[in-house]
Symmetry: D2
Subunit: 358 residues, 4 copies
């Protein structure tokens, strides 16, 4: 249950940063989905380190090899196994970590939990684990595309610079035109500069990713414990460095009155319309046909390229001096990961919803 | 998988607002836990409507009857079945809802999903569903008590009035001394007044619950998809009206630098200390031994005691005029529900963690 | 995961023999299934003790009360909670069991596993646990009926007396005409006599239930670990006293050659026909449209009404002298339980199969 | 849920006969288990085709590559990903299968279920899928070895030739001394001859594997639906070609009386002894400390090297003339697969049992 995501559509992942490979198994993918491997690889490339000067300088090819479940260009309904080899790992960059715990990193908790230490690149807690998520998400997107469901994410905050909440003001086609993945070019520039400034100081900075789902049919989500946003929140909170999740108006709604934020139904001729979308596309845990709107908070990367005090395996005070190649801000590369988690969740609940009537 | 919560310790629930009863099955509860039924009933009483003038005027006795799994005062390791009868339901209060959808409520999405309508009191989407959660949580707390783990929640925001984030400034023994469940008496008064003002206008208001877990051992939480805060977030987001979840510094951390918010380890003599707790007690998805700190955002109750435009089952414009007995603010009664979800999650992950070594 | 059966359609059960009640929660039942409560109660009556002189003399009313999930005569898609009160329990019949382990019963293993002893009537290991299964199965049958799927079981062996394997020679309408539930009246008489003979000696006897599923569509069953017969086998082996499971020709097929037992396809005009059904309706783990044929082996009831040597809680040799009211042969009353487990499994896999294409 | 086996210890598998590779992910393996890769490869070699003249002539190297979850010779608690490349596949052997359904094979049911056909070597229904099971089982055996639990299987029947039920008469060290994997050398010779005779006619033959678990502690198995033998039965019935499962005396017990087959406890000085083991080591679904004894029925391989009538994709009558390289009897190579499924089930339930007390 631990490294398995989902209910009907499941993704089981494996792999550490400095092991042989990362990979996984996509199970429950419906048969007959057209597979576009260029698209799958392109999604991985969006996550890849070394894309731009604001990401880590690591050069990882991250080529995905699909081993099963696809025949003559279509999914067969059988599990899709895949691997991505690790081939640009500098394990020696981590030699000074053999006995030290990085602050606010998983080093300490892993060691305590499992009674042993894989110091190389964070082991399983490395961001390389998200490669498998992006592959799973890419396949999910191929299925969602056939259903007319579209998942888009973008950077809406970097440090002190943030966009307004209303996503309808933005042109999503601009998201991929800048390295920050922000749909507002001017703000993107400022965000990029802030990241470079922080990087120059060996420091890191946090941010927010906004995710929109367009075209979601009414009815996805199971009441009680498997509400659609409960599953989406769980999915997002499972991404490294995520500290918060909001649906619709999120925390802002707490200061408002029901009369201000209730979404009013009206007769829109051929369908039932809604005058607003404070709910973020989900009511009672079930999608209502409006856009699903989420915000995901990322903390600053814990690994700093400057000295930090810490302790060693014996609990003795020590000084940590990290080198290695690390992102000053995880948010731009997190955008495709957020999309992947949303896509897998939606496909999973789409399939689950097929079982609620005979 | 839908109405089942948890992995090892599971709670399966049933029941609609105006059916015969609500109830559930607690499975995987370890054998030998001392059962204090007065405590279980007391927890339910904290959730009960009609406690004070800021909650709904409904008078529900909500007496829990345990049907199995307890013998001679101890849990036996067998499933604990329980029921709470529904006995103060005014179904006629909902007659005008037979054909109308309440804005921002689950009426519309349920009807679309299942192809039928149980209009009485919201049916399964009613807040009465949380009774079963509180019973499950009460049993989980009994087990956690034997492990020295303590779960506390309180109201930290009502509408425009909020407490500071730092919970260490508050005296938790004051939480239950006021109907708002706020540990700061002066702020509690102001919150109470705001709720009464809103109620007087037939309106509703949102708020925030903060939840703290004390005494959590290091090592709870499974990496990747079952991170401890991923499970906690999912649990909280499954509570009716919740729109956001934060761990530790939450969204505030996005504007900060790594050098500001990394939690620094130091040699504290007999143990490894941490100079701060921006992480909220979880790193890499695994508890680090510090207090776990969460914030949960509740939207205003959707049911207003004033007219609202809406549509009917045929999609025709209509006017909704609700009566019935509804809370102007769900937050004070949500406090024990938040605690219940936290308690069940922690016990579940405590048990799961027992399997990571031979 | 322990007291939960199924994947999409799940049954979670609770209850001990001498507790307040047994019951459960049926989750994932599709919305819109017509509910016939007389049928549900009738199924329970088929399982009830005291039906005839070959069953235990216990008189248990076993009235089922449904608490949720049904509205205006139809399932709503919400969980169906139900309870059956325990009201004819003679706990004092078990007083001599406080410190003794019954041979081949669960007394010893339960005590060792959980570290405590509920000696009254076998506690959770009692056959009363199967009440919940029969209720779950009755609801599943109501859904299967709408799908044209029919589940029938009968007694095919009692002790040394057995029917031939070929079920097509029998008139199923005769099954319920005799207390043994055997479709061949003459054999039924002999079986009944054998049970009475054994009972007269305070002894017990084993037997076999055969179960047939008619009208199963092609395609149910998931390859690899969730083969349809793997799930059916697991379901049957979870019934108390079951020691063996066969699909189709079962163990008899081991002595045969492929050329003898391959089921040959032929052009039957409007469909693809099969010349035989050695496979028992499932090939590669997936239903092939033929009748599904299973045999389930039941051991003799462990509780004898005669003296047996055993040990006590301290491991000291002792003599066990059971009174109480026990079945001399569990098979006739097991027939509806077998049907219930088959019905739930089939509905579960029917629903699961809806997710294999978009 | 489909291609995932187990609860705490899980194996997720992927791969088709003629795809790139088969493989899987072992999740929930405890940290700190010593990994002996020679042993893992040796287990695979026991399953490998081309071992002897009674198995298929296919030469598959079946080299396992472990990609994660092992560090410095020990399991880390992280998922163990592995692949075994497919490299001796003769897809052209299956060209005549493009449009024909093999009798009693999964060809027809797969095509109906998924709406498409992977005709090469049976695709996912191929016996190559069991490679992943053997790898999973080998890791489970390494953990069980540290716990003193030992799993042994052997061929107890081939066609008309069978061993007696009482396994204690055999010397298990002789099992691997003959290609049939039968502990009785004389019977092994006869079985081998029967397989060769059948093979010479292009026919196939069924058989039985007996599996024994030594050293199992008391207490494994969860009552109700997750009885230990329910899980073992499900595991075995999920192996290709299995048609029956027995625990202890199995179907033979049906003709017996309780007074004959109850296993009587006695004071054995330092422990509680049992005078017999008709129960096969499990009572009430929970292991009782005796040897666990199972028998598993395998049907004859469906693919014959002789002509068989069948139909094509259009339902027209046709004649099937298979070539290719197939086993005349699957039983000898099934022995390590049975052991693997038993080993994974036992480790899973061992871990699960750790959660039943605080």
């Amino acid at each position: 249950m631990r490294n398995v995501f989902g209910n009907i559509l499941t993704l089981t992942t494996f792999g550490e940063s400095h092991g042989e490979a990362v990979g996984g198994v996509i199970d429950g993918m419906p048969a007959g989905v057209a597979v576009d491997m260029d698209f799958v690889q392109h999604e991985l490339d969006r996550r890849r380190p070394g894309q731009s000067r604001i990401t880590t300088a690591r050069q990882e090819a991250d080529h995905v090899e699909v081993l099963s479940g696809v025949f003559e260009g279509k999914t067969t309904g059988c599990p899709i196994g895949f691997v991505v080899r690790n081939d640009n790992q500098h394990s020696q960059d981590y030699d000074n970590l053999r006995r030290l715990f990085r602050p606010s990193h998983a080093d300490y908790t892993y060691t305590q939990k499992y009674g042993l230490r894989d110091h190389r690149g964070g082991g399983r807690s490395s961001a390389r684990e998200t490669i498998s998520r992006v592959v799973g998400g890419a396949f999910a997107k191929l299925a969602l595309r056939q259903l007319g469901i579209n998942v888009i994410a973008y950077t809406s905050q970097v440090g002190s610079i943030s966009l307004g909440r209303d996503y309808r003001q933005f042109d999503f086609s601009l998201i991929e035109t800048n390295p920050v993945r922000c749909p507002d070019p001017a703000t993107a520039k400022a965000m990029e500069q802030q990241i470079l400034d922080v990087k120059a100081e060996g420091d890191t900075i946090g941010g927010v990713v906004t995710c929109i789902v367009e075209g979601c049919p009414v009815g996805l989500g199971e009441p009680a414990f498997s509400k659609l946003h409960s599953a989406l929140g769980s999915a997002m909170l499972s991404i490294n460095a995520v500290k918060g999740f909001e649906l619709g108006d999120g925390f802002d709604i707490c200061a408002r009155r029901g009369s201000e934020v209730n979404d009013i139904f009206y007769n829109a001729g051929d369908h039932i319309g809604l005058r607003s979308n404070h709910s973020g596309g989900i009511q009672g845990g079930i999608s209502n046909g409006q856009d699903i709107v989420m915000r995901i908070a990322f903390k600053p990367v814990a690994t700093l390229l400057r000295q930090q005090p810490t302790v060693d395996l014996d609990g003795q005070d020590a000084m940590l001096d990290m080198r290695g190649r690390h992102d000053p801000c995880v948010v731009p590369r997190a955008v495709p990961i957020v999309e992947a988690m949303a896509a897998m969740t939606l496909l999973d609940f789409y399939l689950l919803n097929k079982t609620v009537t005979l």
